[in-house]
């Protein structure tokens, strides 16, 4: 099947800095994307979503950008905090609320 993948497997940032996590997708027909956060020993947790008719969506301290031309998603986390340390996944809707997940990026926040 087609793949959803991340450019960087690991990312380390200083507390208070902004973080940017990237994701490439290959299915140009995908209509909906979600970013999930997964902390150690827990299941993925919804962070923010975006539809294909948008190029930007903002939440609390998080922003998702969608570039359909190059099939690229990014998640920006403002003022990164130690509690943001986790693995972040982008997921791509394939219909019927079924999602294909990328490999994930491990974010480490350095105090």
């Amino acid at each position: 099947g087609e793949s959803v993948g991340l450019h960087l497997p690991t990312l380390s940032v200083q507390e208070g800095d902004n973080s940017i996590i990237n994701c490439a997708y290959s299915n140009s027909a995908s209509d909906y994307f979600i970013w999930y956060k997964q902390e150690s020993g827990k299941g993925p947790q919804f962070i923010i979503d975006i539809r294909s008719n948008m190029d930007k969506r903002q939440g609390q301290r998080v922003t998702v950008l969608l570039n359909k031309t190059v099939k690229h998603l990014s998640l920006q986390i403002a003022a990164t905090q130690p509690g943001d340390s986790a693995v972040y996944f982008c997921a791509e809707d394939w219909g019927g609320n079924q999602f294909y997940f990328g490999t994930g990026t491990s974010l480490t926040v350095i105090p």
């Binding site: 909906y32 827990k42 299941g43 919804f46 979503d49 996944f89 609320n97 079924q98 990328g102």
Partner: protein, 115 residues
């Protein structure tokens, strides 16, 4: 609101043995999912239920995996017989429906180790 419950949290078995996992979704959620998450990878959907019916099980290895949701609430996932490559975290998720904006809520998972 209580989240998705799963048990056991950990299980260690030998290859060729059988194992079963249990999931209790969020109350009122019609849609239930089982995912397999191999270490270092994203979750992969195994099966999706709507109430007690299967919506999609195209990625479920049916020669050894089975799942049921008889009364449209709790669900069990079984592996018989287990192989080494089945070592993974098995995640259960539930959502209120099948629309893309019906957020999936995940349980903590069951970590299976096959020796």
């Amino acid at each position: 609101e209580a989240g998705v419950a799963q048990s056991p949290r950990y299980k260690i078995i030998e290859k060729r043995q059988s194992v079963a996992f249990w999931c209790n979704p969020i109350s009122g959620h019609a849609t239930l999912y089982w995912y397999q998450q191999i270490l270092g990878q994203g979750p992969k959907l195994l099966i999706q239920f709507q109430n007690n019916g299967v919506v999609d099980d195209s990625q479920l290895p049916k020669d050894r995996f089975s799942a049921e949701r008889l009364k449209g609430v709790d669900s069990t996932l079984k592996i018989q017989p287990a192989k080494l490559e089945d070592s993974a975290v098995y995640l259960c998720a539930s959502s209120s429906g099948l629309r893309v904006w019906d957020t999936q809520y995940f349980g903590p998972g069951t970590r299976l180790t096959v020796l």
